[in-house]
Structure formats: C-alpha cells, structure tokens
C-alpha cells in the first residue's frame, strides 16, 4: 500500500493498538489475593498541553477583565480623565497582528497535509507568524516612543496610565507567544517531538494562545480607542 497514511492512521500507528483490558496479574504490588485490577500505564497524552492552555486563557482573561473593570470604574468615578490622540501606527500594528493569526492558520493547515511538502509550508508560515509577532512588538514600542515624544507619559493622566499598562501587559503575553512559537519551531526542526501527536498538540496549544492574544488585542484596542 503506497497511499500516504491519513491523520487518524498516523495517530493509530504512533499510539499503538489498544492493548488495554484487565490485567490479571493482581498481587504485583502486594495486593495479595485482593485481585487488584491494574494494567500497563499509557503515556501521558500530549492533550494536556491543549487543555492547559485553555485553563491558562481563562486566568489571563480574568487578569485583563480586572484591568478593564478598573478602567471603567476609574474613568466613571474620576473627574480628571483627559483623552489623548492615539498614534495612527496602532492601526498598522493591529493589522500586522491579525494577519499573523491568518498565517498561523495557513501553517496549521499545511501541517495537516500528509504530503511531505506540507512540512516545508508549515515551517515557512510558522516563521512568518513569528516574524509578524516581532514586528507587532517593535511597532508597539514605536507607538510608546511617539507618545513620549508627544509628552504623554505613564503618570500623565489615568487615560495614558491605562494605555501604557494594557499595551505593556498584552505585549508581555505576546512576547511569551513569540518565544513559544520559536520553541516549537526549534523542537520541530531538531525532530525532538517523540510523537507526531505531540507536535500537533504543541502547535494547537501555541495557536490557541496566539489567536486569543489577537482577539484580546482587538478588544483592548477598541476599549482604549473608544473609551479614551
């Protein structure tokens, strides 16, 4: 059979056939004739990384919701809120980040392609995504530079305090995303993933995180722009 194996077949090959079933060797651990029902352990599923990232996102969302409610309360209660002009560069940055989410999806789609050339495409779009992430971060630093030049500092006004705080905390999370992208790429290049399933889980986890940060940025940008 020369046909390339499908994704499901690949998974089956790598996990091996299901050899589960009651292990009758009770007493192995000193249960005596208690007849303990134990069987060989299966390896920890890479699925934990995907689950883990969703749990982490819940926490990150709470963090930013904490900041958002502070923004709303501080703006509503204070009498000293003064809007400032957001640099147009932010629109460019936002576009870059949204495009990076698109290229990441192109990369993931290529990974699902069983053709060997798929891996080349997967890596190429993965690197493009990493580069776009870095461009976004540099762009955000440039925005800060422009604000500084305009005399808008962290402590100038609550509106600028929240702007710096939210862009900084989002940027730090995104920096973590860039590092994750680079880490997955390095492991993939050195073929360090023991299971193809593990690589797919790492890719899914990283992509989930990345798309979340893109979406979060759209939310934060709208909040900072409309609420300034």
């Amino acid at each position: 059979m020369t046909a390339k194996p499908s994704v499901e077949e690949l998974d089956l090959i790598e996990t091996g056939p299901d050899t589960s079933g009651p292990d009758d060797s009770g007493g192995l651990l000193g249960f005596g004739d208690d007849g303990g029902d134990f069987r060989p352990a299966t390896p920890r599923s890479p699925q934990v990384y995907v689950t883990g990232i969703w749990i982490a996102l819940a926490s990150i969302l709470m963090f930013f919701m904490g900041l958002t409610s502070s923004f709303i309360v501080r703006k509503g209660l204070g009498t000293d809120w003064a809007p400032f002009t957001l640099p147009p560069l932010l629109w460019v940055n936002s576009l870059v980040l949204l495009v990076s989410s698109g290229t990441l999806e192109l990369s993931r789609r290529a990974l699902r392609d069983p053709d060997p050339s798929g891996r080349t495409v997967y890596r190429r779009w993965w690197h493009v995504t990493t580069a776009l992430g870095l461009v976004f971060l540099i762009g955000q630093l440039a925005v800060w530079q422009q604000l500084r030049a305009a005399g808008v500092y962290l402590a100038s006004n609550p509106s600028s305090s929240f702007f710096y705080l939210m862009t900084a905390t989002h940027g730090l999370h995104l920096l973590g995303g860039v590092l994750a992208l680079a880490y997955v790429a390095a492991r993939s290049r050195r073929s360090e993933f023991e299971l193809w399933r593990a690589e797919r889980a790492a890719v899914t986890a990283t992509a989930t995180y990345w798309h979340f940060l893109s979406g979060l940025w759209v939310f934060l940008f709208l909040l900072l722009w409309l609420g300034r």
Partner: protein, 587 residues
C-alpha cells in the same frame, strides 16, 4: 510497534541526585511535602506574632522580646504580618498545594501532575514569595501596618503615610504578586491533572471528595489570583510610578498635600475583595474535602449524599465569586447593591447546611472509630457550624454595620477560615501520615493535642464574640486607647492565657510530628485505616512513580463501606467485583 508502556516507564525514572530528588524535585509527592514544610515554618512564624500580640493585649506594660515596649504601630505591623502569613502561606499553601499535590495524582490514579516542571516552579515561586514577605520585617520602617487587606490610600501613599508603608509595603505587594503567579501555575496544574489524567474508570463522579475539593478550589484560585495580580500591579504603579489609580485628590498626609488626584480607594476594595472572598473558600474547601473523606472512612459508612456534596461545593464556589461586596457594607454602597450582596451571601448558608447535614447523616447510626484524625474531623464540623452561623449575622448590612469594626468579626473569621481550615489540615495530617512516611503518629499525643486545641480555640474565640457584641473595636493595640474599653481587660487576659495554652499544645503536635518520623510505629500494611481509595493500594511511602508503571482501573465509587454481601466492610475502588460471602445456610 514499541509498546508505549516501556516508553512511559522509562520516562518516569526516579532522579538520583540529592538536588533533583529533594530540592528542585518534579515529583508531586516531594513538592507536596515541600509545601507542607513551608506552611509549617510559616504557621510557627504567624503563631509567634499572635503570641506577641496576645501578650501585649493582656499586659500592655510588658517589655517583650524583640519588640520592647510595643508601640501602636508595631502592634499594627504584627497584625498585618500575622494575617498575611497565615492566610497566604498557611491556609492557601498547606491544604491545597501541600496535601493536594501529594494526593490528587495518587487518588485519581496518575503517575504525576500534568506539568511537573511547572509544579516545581510553582513551589519555588511560593518560597521566594515567603522570603520577600519576611524581608519586610528587616527593611527601614519595618513591616507594613495596613492590614492583610492593604486598603488604599494608606497602602498606596508610601512612607509618608506611616512606618512600614515605604519599603515594607512595597515588599508586601511584590511578595503577593509572586505568590499570585505561583498560585496560578498551581491552579492550572490541578485543573488539567483532574481533567486529563484520571485513570480508566475514574469518572468525575467516582473521584474522592478530596479531589473534587481541590479541583473546585483550583478554579477559584485561577480566577481570583489573576485579579489580585492585576490589583497588585496597579498598587505598585501608584506607589512607584506616580499614577493615581487608588489615590484620591487633595489628600493631606503628614502636613503635606499629596499631588495625586482622582483615584478611587473603593476600586482597590472591589478588586481586593473580588479575590479576597473566594480566597476564604480557597482556604476552607480543601478542608471540607478532607473532612468528608476521613469522616466516611472512620464512620465505616458511605458519605451521605455524595452528589449533593459535590454540587454543594460547586454552589459555594460559584456563589462565593459574587459576594465580595459584603466586606464593603461600610463603604457607603447603595442599599440596593448591599441588599443583593446580602441575599447572595445568605444563600451560601444553603449549600453549607447541606454539607453539614450530610456529615451528620453520615455519622447517624455509624460504628465510629475515634482515631485522632476522626476527632479533628468532628472538631471541624463543630467549628464550621459555630463560625458559619456568625457569618449569617454579618451577611446582613443592618447587623454588619455596627459589628463590622468589632472583635465579633475577628472571632467569626478566625473560627470559620482559620481554625476550621487548620482542623482540616490536622485531620489530613493524622490520617495520611502513615501513607506519607510509613509510620503512625502517636495516637495518645494526638488525643491530648486535639482536646487541648479544641477547648483552647473555643476559649479564645467565644469570649471574643461577646466583647465584639459589647462594642470592643478591633485593630486596637490595648484597652487603654479608650476608657470605655477598660472593662474588657479581664476578658483579654483570659483569652491570652487560653491562647498560650493552645499555642503550647501545638508544641505537642510539633514533637509528635518529629518523633513519629523517626520513632513512630511502623505501618503493618498499606491500608491501616481499611480505606477504599487508591492511595491505600500502594506502598507507604509510595514509590516515585506511584503505581510502578501500571495504571489502576476503577470499578466503583470512592466510599463503598459496609456493602451488603461483601466479605469485608470496605470495598476498594479498584476491585472488579464484590465477592459475596458464602451462604452459611443459617439465615
């Protein structure tokens, strides 16, 4: 096809070096013990601080060791650090991160937590956080005086506002930010482990109630500590970057007008208590889990209403996320908001009562084995009821407003959050010690420890309710501050003496712990309590990979005691079938 079992067993080989085995260990059991050791160190520090405070309250003119003649500011610093250390480094650390780390993977049949490296980082972050917190004692100005709630603007202004509010307060905030990070990592690990690493047959509704408690607590920690971290960052920026999130305009402090403006002190209260109220449940829920577990085992009966217990814990957690406002009835909030917060708060009484009645239902008609662990479990139920009832008083704004700044509140939260949670920990310690170390703790010393502690805490905190009702304000260094407080002095002396005896009783516990580690009676078998859950199927202490590369298969719920027809009065979870006793023909 290479079998994956070999692969897995190989990947889980035990580390050999001392440092990788005991210091930077990724083994959930070692990490659990590290957490418990940290909490033990912290509890003795916290207890020492309360000892100093109680000495001063009973004999205000006394010259104390390390302190001398105590100033009001020093008293407030002791109070702040006592609260902070106890809440974070004892009540949050031991029941959840300590016992949870050790027993969650074993009880669900896993070889380790989902993310062992993250688990290690989580412990060491907590350790660094504790060191930073203690460092606050040794910087210029000393420890902060703003209470464990660090209300702004007092906590936000810096040293101009008082001693300890300079570097001491900054270290306090930094320490809690690190602690938040550690707790978030831990919560992530607990939730993922519970969801993904349960062994075959271990459905959610077959998990021991301890696992449910740790799981639900982890969800609260995941949501709560994220908000505390955000609040801490805002506070640090106010203190060091010149922003005005919490500092209002026109403040005159130490004869100087502060140049911040427009901030909202109430914003801090909202953010803090959005974390702070769930934190109360983070402290008590693991205790509820341990108590349900131990109670069923020593009552030799299935826990009454297992599902109701799970749903009640879920309801407590869910409602607990929406009641933070009841800490702020004094803040001048709209009576409509206060009414909503009050109603939600009182509704927590329903799931709490369900739990209490289920515990009593489990005990009803049981052949109870009164081990020390069981005594502490019964003590927990008693304290939980006593401390919980005063919570219903305080849930009503009309009652809370006159009582809020009195010792009544101090008595309430010490019983429900402090003492009850500690009783849960003691129950867990006496119960699991044989599994963790292969030796029994002394039951005789345990009983003495229990009765002294049980009577001691009631002797300390019951009078405290009454002086609170009589109008004794809290956070007051001694009764000489107001002439009206003078009549309470004998009560203070009584409570202090009770506290000294109770603290002395803890030395019995410490001795029992150390002595039993070295000289305790060795366990005769792996299941000395004749319990049903998975931790009792493996050697004591458990090997590095828990189940020796095997995976248990679960066939039944966690508390099958006194099953009709079974040949013993307990059926472990991994047994495939109940062997019916041979018919004798007599009946």
């Amino acid at each position: 096809m290479a079998t994956e079992a070999h692969h897995a067993a190989h990947a889980h080989a035990a580390p050999t070096g001392f440092i990788s085995k005991y210091i930077f260990s990724k083994d959930h059991k070692v990490i659990g013990i590290q957490y418990i050791a940290l909490a033990l160190a912290a509890v003795f520090v916290g207890m020492f601080l309360s000892l100093l405070m109680r000495l001063h309250l009973a004999w205000p003119a006394l010259h104390l060791p390390l302190v001398g003649l105590m100033t009001p500011e020093q008293y407030l610093a002791l109070m702040t650090m006592h609260g902070t250390i106890m809440v974070f480094f004892v009540l949050t650390t031991a029941p959840q991160s300590g016992f949870g780390n050790y027993f969650l993977p074993i009880q669900i049949g896993a070889a380790d937590m989902a993310f062992p490296t993250l688990n290690m980082l989580s412990f060491w972050f907590t350790f660094v956080s504790f060191v930073v917190m203690l460092a606050a004692f040794f910087v210029a100005g000393g420890a902060p005086i703003s209470g464990w709630t660090a209300y702004a603007p007092l906590s936000a202004l810096g040293e101009i506002a008082g001693p300890g509010l300079g570097w001491g307060q900054s270290l306090w905030v930094i320490s809690l930010a690190i602690f938040s990070g550690a707790s978030l990592m831990g919560a992530l690990n607990f939730i993922t482990t519970t969801l993904d690493l349960r062994t075959r047959g271990m459905s959610l509704m077959r998990m021991p109630l301890t696992c449910w408690a740790w799981f639900i607590t982890a969800i609260l920690a995941l949501l709560g500590f994220a908000v505390l971290l955000a609040a801490g960052i805002l506070l640090l920026l106010d203190r060091h970057a010149g922003t005005s999130f919490f500092i209002p305009g026109g403040l005159l402090v130490s004869d100087r007008i502060i140049d911040h403006k427009g901030g909202s002190p109430l914003l801090w209260q909202h953010l803090f208590w959005f974390f702070g109220h769930p934190e109360v449940y983070i402290a008590i829920l693991p205790g509820m889990g341990i108590v349900s577990h131990v109670l069923s085992t020593f009552a030799r009966k299935a826990i009454f209403g297992y599902r109701a217990m799970v749903y009640a814990m879920g309801a407590i957690a869910l409602l607990g996320l929406g009641v933070w406002g009841h800490h702020m009835f004094m803040s001048g909030m709209s009576p409509y908001s206060a009414f909503a917060f009050s109603l939600l708060t009182m509704s927590i009484g329903v799931p709490s009562a369900i739990k209490t009645f289920n515990w009593i239902g489990t005990l009803w008609g049981a052949r109870i084995r009164f081990s020390t662990a069981m005594l502490y479990t019964l003590g927990f139920v008693s304290i939980f009821v006593t401390g919980g009832l005063s919570g219903l008083f305080l849930a009503q704004p009309a009652v809370d407003i006159p009582l809020h700044d009195t010792y009544f509140v101090v008595a309430h939260f010490h019983l429900i959050m402090g003492v009850a949670a500690i009783f849960g920990m003691f129950a867990g310690t006496y119960f699991w010690f044989p599994k963790m170390f292969g030796r029994h703790m002394s039951e005789g010393l345990g009983r003495v420890h229990f009765w002294l502690t049980f009577i001691g805490v009631y002797a300390i905190f019951m009078p405290m309710h009454f002086i609170g009702l009589a109008g004794h304000i809290r956070r007051i260094p001694d009764t000489s501050a107001y002439t009206s407080l003078g009549v309470f002095q004998p009560v203070h002396t009584f409570m202090s003496i009770a506290a000294f005896i109770t603290i002395g009783a803890q030395l019995i516990f410490a001795f029992n712990l150390v002595w039993s580690l070295v000289r305790g009676k060795k366990v005769a078998n792996d299941n000395p309590w004749e319990a049903t859950t998975l931790e009792w199927t493996i050697p004591s202490p458990p090997p590095h990979d828990n189940f020796a590369g095997l995976e248990p298969v679960i066939h039944r719920g966690p508390y099958e005691f006194a099953v009709p027809g079974a040949d013993k009065d307990y059926v472990p979870q991994h047994l495939p079938d109940v062997r019916v006793a041979p018919a004798t023909g007599d009946d």
